[in-house]
C-alpha cells in the first residue's frame, strides 16, 4: 500500500508576520513615530493636521452646544443636514421681515438652525433698535427625532441660544 504523500504547503511565508501581528507592531510603533515627528517641522505639520482632523469632529460629538452646526465635523449628508427650522424674530412683539434685514443666504443658514448665525442676527437687530426687546423663537423639525424649540426670550439681554 502506497502511502499518500502528505500535502505539502509551501512554507515560504510562514515566517512573515500575519496581519494581526503587523497591525500590533504598527500600533506599538506609534509612540516612537510621534516622537520622531515632533523633531522636525514637517512632522509638526503632519501632527497638526492629524490632531485637528481628529479633534474638531470629535468636538461636535462631545462639546458643541449647537447640534445643527456640523461645520468641520465631516458630517456629509447626515440626518441633521435635513433639519428645517423656522426662526421667528420679533422686535417689541412686532414680527421682523428678515428679507429686508439680511441677505437670503443668511436666512437660509438660519433656517438650518445654526445658533451662532441666529445669535449674530439678533445682536444686529438689538444694535439697530436700542432699548427694544428682540425675541427669537426657533422651531426645528428633524428627521427621525421629535421637533424642538429654542429661544423664546429677549436676546438683547441673553445673547446666546
Amino acid at each position: 500500500m502506497t502511502k499518500k504523500p502528505k500535502p505539502t504547503t509551501p512554507k515560504r511565508y510562514d515566517d512573515a508576520p500575519d496581519l494581526a501581528t503587523r497591525i500590533i507592531r504598527g500600533i506599538e510603533r506609534i509612540p516612537s513615530g510621534v516622537l520622531a515627528l515632533v523633531r522636525t517641522w514637517q512632522g509638526l505639520v503632519i501632527l497638526l493636521v492629524l490632531a485637528s482632523q481628529l479633534l474638531l469632529p470629535l468636538q461636535y460629538y462631545t462639546a458643541r452646544r449647537d447640534p445643527h452646526d456640523e461645520r468641520f465635523a465631516w458630517r456629509m449628508f447626515s440626518p441633521m443636514r435635513m433639519t428645517r427650522c423656522t426662526p421667528k424674530f420679533t422686535i417689541d412683539s412686532k414680527p421682523v421681515n428678515l428679507n429686508t434685514e439680511f441677505h437670503e443666504a443668511w436666512i437660509e443658514i438660519a433656517n438650518r438652525g445654526r445658533f451662532v448665525v441666529i445669535e449674530q442676527m439678533a445682536a444686529r437687530l438689538c444694535q439697530k433698535n436700542p432699548g427694544a426687546a428682540v425675541h427669537v423663537v426657533i422651531e426645528c423639525q428633524y428627521v427621525g427625532k421629535e421637533p424642538a424649540t429654542w429661544g423664546g426670550y429677549d436676546m438683547c439681554k441673553v445673547p446666546l441660544l
Binding site: 515560504r12 516612537s32 465631516w74 449628508f77 447626515s78
Partner: protein, 580 residues
C-alpha cells in the same frame, strides 16, 4: 519601461541568496505602511538597502518568481516524486524598486512615501484644473458677501476682515488664474502658498460658504504646499518621488471618510429615511426600484469605512481606486446640490489610482511635457499680448483690470529667468493664456456673469439699496439682454424712482421676451392705473390674464379696474427669479 523601473515586489529568503543576515527593510515607505516592517528597519543603511536590492535583482534574474517556483516544485513532486526544497530562511527583503535616494528618516511611513513622478504630474493637472473651474464658478456668489454689512465668520476673530463682494469676486478670479498656472507647474512654490492663503481667508472669513468640500479644498491646498509638484531634474515618468504631503493628503481623506461614516451611524440614516429624502433623479429612482434605500444606506456606511481603511495604503489602492471612483461617480448622478464636490473627489482619486497607470499615460505624453518645458521668449511674449486681449473680452466685473494685474506672474517669471540667464518655459505663456481663457469660458459658456448681476441686483433691491440694485440690473440686462427678469426688475426700479417712460420701456421688453409671464403686464397696468389711464390699464390687465390665466393678482387687478372691488395689495414675498 515601467517594468524595467519597478520590478515586482519580491520576497527572498537567505537560501535564495538573501542579502543580509539581519532583518532588512527598504527606504520605501510602502514597506511600513501596513505596519509590517521590523523595528530595526529604519536603521538599515542605504548600502544595505542597495545591496539587498542588487541581490534581490540577481536572485530575480536567476530564479523564477517565488509563486511560480512554488507551483513548479509542487508539480515536480507530483510528477516525479522529487524532494521539495527545504523551507527557506526567514529574512524577508521587501523593496519595490531600486533607488539611489538616501534612506528616509523616521517615521518612514510618512517620510519614505514615494509616488511616481507621473502620478504627481497628472494629479497636479487634474486637481488644480478642477479647483480653477470651481473658483471661477464661485464668482456668481460674490454679491452675498458683505451684503447689508452683515457677516459671521467661521472663526470669530475673522468676522471683521471677511471679504466683501468686490474682494470675493476678484479673489476667486485670481484663484482661478493661479490654479491654472499651478496645474501647468508654473511657479508652484510661490502661487500655491499664495492661493492657499487667499482660499483660507475666503473660506474661514464667512459662514456663507457652507460647502464641506471647500473646507476640504482649504486643507488640501495647505497640505499641497508641501508636495513636490516641480519635476525633479532628469526625472522620467516612472521616477519615484518622495512626497510625505501626498501621504498626509490621503490620510486626511481617510479621516474624512471615517467621520462621514460615523455621522451616518444614526437610526434616521440606517433605516433609509435620510437617503430617500436626499436622493432625487435617476439614481434615486434606481435605488428605490432595486435594493431599496435601507440597504443602500448601510452600503454607503460600509463603502465609507472601507475607503477609510484603504485609501491611504498603497497595497489597497487596486481596490480603493475603483470603489472610490464608483462611489463618487454615483454621487455625481444623484442630483445633489453639492457643487463640484463629487468631481473634486474624483480628481483627488488620481492619487489613489496605481502609479503604473499614470506612468503608462505619461510615457505617451512625454513629448508634450518636454515641449512645455522648452525655454522660449516668443511664447512668453505671445502669451502676454494674447491674454490682455482675452481679458478685454471678459464681462465679469473688474476682470480686465485683474487680468492686467495677473500679468505680474509671467513678468516676474521673466525677470527671474533673466537673472538666472535662462528663458521662461513654453508652459508659462500657454498657462497664462489658458488661465485667462478660463475666465472667458466661464463668462461666455455659463450663467456665472449673468447670475452675479442678477443676485447682486436682487439682494440690493430687497435690502433697500435701489440705486445699487438699478446699476446691477442695468449690467444684468447688458450681459443677458434676452432674460425677462432683468428687464422686469429694472423697469420696476425705474418706475419706482420716477423714470416712468424708461421703466415702461423695460417692462414692455420683458413682456416681449416672455409673453406667457403675467407680471410685467400687471406692473404696467398698475402704472397706467396710477396715471389715471384706466382704459389702457384695463387692456393691460386683460393681457396679463391672457398671459397667465392662473395669475391671481392679475385677475384681482382686472376686477378692481372693471368693477368696484378694492385694488389688491401686491405680495411682499420675494420674487422667485433673483434670490440666490
Amino acid at each position: 519601461m515601467a517594468k524595467k523601473r519597478r520590478p515586482k515586489r519580491q520576497r527572498f529568503k537567505q537560501g535564495d541568496k538573501a542579502p543580509s543576515q539581519s532583518p532588512t527593510s527598504s527606504a520605501d515607505g510602502d514597506d511600513d505602511e501596513d505596519g509590517a516592517g521590523d523595528d530595526t528597519a529604519a536603521s538599515t543603511t542605504n548600502e544595505t538597502a542597495d545591496a539587498a536590492s542588487a541581490d534581490a535583482a540577481k536572485a530575480d534574474a536567476a530564479k523564477p518568481d517565488v509563486a511560480e517556483r512554488g507551483k513548479a516544485s509542487r508539480t515536480a513532486k507530483a510528477d516525479k516524486g522529487t524532494k521539495i526544497p527545504a523551507p527557506l530562511p526567514a529574512v524577508i527583503v521587501r523593496r519595490e524598486r531600486p533607488t539611489s535616494a538616501p534612506p528616509a528618516r523616521e517615521p518612514v511611513f510618512w517620510f519614505g512615501f514615494e509616488v511616481a513622478w507621473a502620478k504627481l504630474a497628472v494629479s497636479r493637472f487634474v486637481i488644480f484644473m478642477l479647483l480653477a473651474l470651481d473658483a471661477a464658478l464661485q464668482i456668481s456668489h460674490a454679491p452675498r458677501y458683505g451684503a447689508g454689512d452683515f457677516n459671521v465668520a467661521q472663526v470669530p476673530f475673522l468676522d471683521a476682515i471677511g471679504a466683501g463682494r468686490v474682494l470675493f469676486g476678484a479673489s476667486q478670479l485670481a484663484l482661478a488664474y493661479m490654479f491654472v498656472m499651478v496645474a501647468f507647474g508654473v511657479a508652484t512654490r510661490v502661487l500655491l502658498p499664495l492661493s492657499a492663503a487667499i482660499y483660507a481667508w475666503l473660506y474661514f472669513g464667512s459662514q456663507l460658504d457652507s460647502y464641506q468640500h471647500h473646507y476640504l479644498v482649504a486643507l488640501v491646498l495647505v497640505i499641497a504646499c508641501f508636495a513636490p509638484w516641480q519635476r525633479p531634474a532628469d526625472a522620467e515618468p516612472s521616477t519615484p518621488v518622495r512626497a510625505w504631503a501626498v501621504r498626509l493628503l490621503l490620510v486626511q481623506l481617510a479621516i474624512m471618510y471615517l467621520w462621514a461614516a460615523i455621522s451616518k451611524m444614526d437610526r434616521a440614516w440606517v433605516n433609509g429615511t435620510t437617503l430617500s429624502m436626499q436622493m432625487t433623479g435617476t439614481i434615486g429612482s434606481l435605488i428605490a426600484k432595486t435594493i431599496g434605500f435601507k440597504i443602500a444606506s448601510v452600503l454607503v456606511i460600509a463603502v465609507e469605512l472601507a475607503l477609510a481603511a484603504m485609501v491611504w495604503a498603497r497595497p489597497a489602492w487596486k481596490l480603493a481606486a475603483p470603489l472610490g471612483l464608483l462611489f463618487h461617480l454615483g454621487i455625481v448622478f444623484t442630483g445633489l446640490e453639492i457643487g463640484l464636490f463629487a468631481f473634486l473627489m474624483l480628481g483627488i482619486y488620481t492619487l489613489v489610482i496605481p502609479d503604473a497607470i499614470w506612468v503608462a499615460v505619461m510615457s505617451k505624453l512625454e513629448g508634450i511635457a518636454r515641449l512645455f518645458a522648452k525655454p522660449t521668449w516668443i511664447a512668453w511674449g505671445l502669451g502676454l499680448v494674447t491674454s490682455i486681449a482675452i481679458a478685454r473680452l471678459v464681462r465679469i466685473e473688474d476682470a480686465f483690470v485683474l487680468g492686467l494685474v495677473m500679468c505680474v506672474v509671467p513678468l516676474g517669471i521673466a525677470v527671474h529667468a533673466l537673472v538666472r540667464g535662462t528663458r521662461p518655459a513654453l508652459a508659462v505663456g500657454i498657462a497664462h493664456i489658458l488661465a485667462l481663457g478660463l475666465w472667458l469660458f466661464v463668462d461666455r459658456a455659463t450663467s456665472v456673469t449673468a447670475d452675479y448681476y442678477r443676485f447682486w441686483g436682487g439682494s440690493q433691491r430687497r435690502l433697500g439699496s435701489s440705486e445699487v440694485a438699478e446699476y446691477a440690473y442695468r449690467r444684468f440686462t447688458a450681459v443677458a439682454p434676452d432674460e425677462e427678469a432683468g428687464h422686469f426688475q429694472l423697469g420696476r426700479l425705474l418706475v419706482k424712482r420716477g423714470a416712468i417712460e424708461e421703466g415702461l420701456a423695460e417692462l414692455r421688453e420683458a413682456q416681449r421676451l416672455e409673453p406667457a409671464i403675467a407680471r410685467a403686464f400687471v406692473e404696467e397696468a398698475r402704472v397706467l392705473q396710477q396715471q389715471g389711464k384706466t382704459a389702457e390699464a384695463i387692456e393691460k390687465a386683460k393681457q396679463a390674464t391672457y398671459a397667465d390665466p392662473s395669475h391671481a393678482f392679475a385677475r384681482a387687478l382686472l376686477d378692481s379696474l372693471t368693477g368696484n372691488k378694492p385694488t389688491p395689495k401686491p405680495s411682499d414675498k420675494p420674487d422667485a427669479d433673483d434670490p440666490e
